[in-house]
């Protein structure tokens, strides 16, 4: 059977999963915002750069992104602890996905809003920050929560580079106890308890927004 020691070990893994998710999401919010603004910017090279950034991260496996950052940072003379490398990769990944989600939201704010702000004499910065972005954020909330669920699940791939988060902790305990079904069932249950409430919340919000839009 798995005892309190194994459970404590998996609990520690769970905390790392939460920490990695929090770091990736916080970094993703910060840089994703910049990516979204660059993507809708009238400056052409800036929007092309943002488009390329999004295309690369959406067109390659998260596992490869982890590998390239994890093994690439030492080549640049940087030797951060493993969690920093994983968090950096997750941040870059999240920035591309959140950037694209928010780009869609920014562009789905009716054009008249921006035009009205323009007519009132607001400059680009004020037009974006005070008129378009606040409305876009509301529209993008369900998709953002959906991505948070993806990110929680995505942190499990850190297990493949050897980082001990929940999935890797489960793998280790499974190898020690020869109870793969029990252990992976438990690990799956823990992820489910994290993700399911978020999924339900996102869905409920989506329904509310859909009602709001038909008026």
């Amino acid at each position: 059977m798995i005892g309190p020691q194994e459970l404590a070990f998996m609990g520690k893994g769970l905390l790392w999963t939460l920490a990695l998710t929090a770091m990736g999401f916080a970094g993703g919010i910060l840089f994703g915002f910049l990516v979204a603004l660059a993507r809708v910017s009238p400056i052409r090279w800036l929007s092309a750069l943002a488009r390329a950034w999004i295309a690369v991260f959406q067109g390659t496996p998260l596992l490869m992104q982890l590998f390239v950052v994890y093994f690439g940072l030492p080549l640049l003379g940087l030797n951060p602890p493993a969690w920093v490398a994983v968090a950096a990769a997750l941040t870059a990944h999240a920035s591309a996905f959140l950037g694209e989600i928010w780009r869609g939201a920014i562009q789905s704010v009716p054009k008249g809003q921006s035009e009205a702000a323009h007519a009132l004499g607001l400059r680009y910065r004020a037009r974006m920050m005070d008129v378009v972005v606040p409305q876009a954020l509301r529209l993008s909330l369900p998709a953002t929560i959906g991505f948070l669920v993806q990110l929680i699940k995505g942190t499990s791939l850190a297990a493949i580079v050897g980082f001990i988060e929940l999935a890797r902790a489960g793998q280790i305990v499974s190898n020690q106890t020869f109870k793969p079904l029990l252990v992976f069932g438990l690990v799956g249950l823990m992820y489910f308890m994290l993700c399911w409430p978020l999924s339900l919340w996102g869905k409920a919000m989506e329904r509310r927004l859909a009602i709001g839009q038909t008026r």
């Binding site: 496996p61 390239v68 093994f71 069932g185 993700c195 399911w196």
Partner: protein, 222 residues
């Protein structure tokens, strides 16, 4: 700071990389076919009168969508032998990809089917078509057409997910890369190279799906 890169020793192994790429594409296509079958069957059950069936399908969708693929593939890999079923890592990977992709396909196709006006079904039945034909021709095909873009991006995602099959030692591009890395110690170069290959494969998939949609959905809608 001198960055010392050597792509030569990696590119020398191109025949292995090419075989790995083909294996990845094969895994992805097999997974997609299974996912499509599960997706359509799941939606058919959701529309059926079987209450138990509907609950099972809904539970399956929620369970798959809220747990990581890595944990799913491990679970399947260890569960099946206990049930006396021995499958190769490749077949296990296809099964895992199909089940995972299937759950998302059910969600996507259900959305499309719900958007078809009920009058369409009634009109089909009034014309004397069998219920099965009504579902296939009048509901499913237009629904698939309208959710096609979401299905495509889901399937491109599935293609990228095949890389995780390396965790159960299935043969595909990432496992080939791990072997080359073990031989050459050119870790960064190997993974950088196959990242570019994955980018090309996902671009290829999108191009093929766009071409396919022009053939399959080439009929007027209004």
């Amino acid at each position: 700071m001198a960055v010392n890169l050597d792509f030569g020793v990696v590119l020398e192994r191109w025949p292995e990389l090419a075989r790995g790429t083909l294996a990845t594409i094969g895994l992805a296509i097999a997974g997609m076919v299974l996912a499509m079958v599960i997706g359509v069957a799941g939606v058919a059950v959701l529309r059926s009168r079987s209450r138990v069936g509907r609950i099972v399908v809904r539970a399956f969708v929620e369970l798959i969508r809220n747990t990581p693929f890595l944990v799913q593939i491990f679970f399947i890999f260890f569960a099946l032998p206990l049930a006396g079923i021995r499958l190769s890592p490749t077949v296990t990977a296809i099964l895992a990809l199909g089940l995972n992709g299937g759950a998302y396909a059910i969600e996507i196709i259900r959305g499309g089917v719900e958007a078809i006006p009920p009058g369409q079904t009634e009109a089909g039945l009034a014309l004397g078509l069998q219920p099965g034909d009504v579902f296939r021709r009048i509901i499913l095909k237009p629904a698939l057409r309208s959710v096609y873009p979401s299905l495509v991006s889901q399937f491109v995602m599935l293609t990228l997910t095949t890389s995780i099959a390396t965790s159960i030692s299935a043969y595909e591009l990432t496992s080939v890369a791990q072997r080359i890395d073990g031989d050459t110690f050119r870790t960064f170069e190997v993974y950088f190279t196959i990242t570019l290959i994955y980018l090309a494969v996902s671009w290829l998939m999108m191009t093929l799906f766009a071409a396919l949609s022009r053939r399959v959905f080439a009929y007027p809608t209004r």
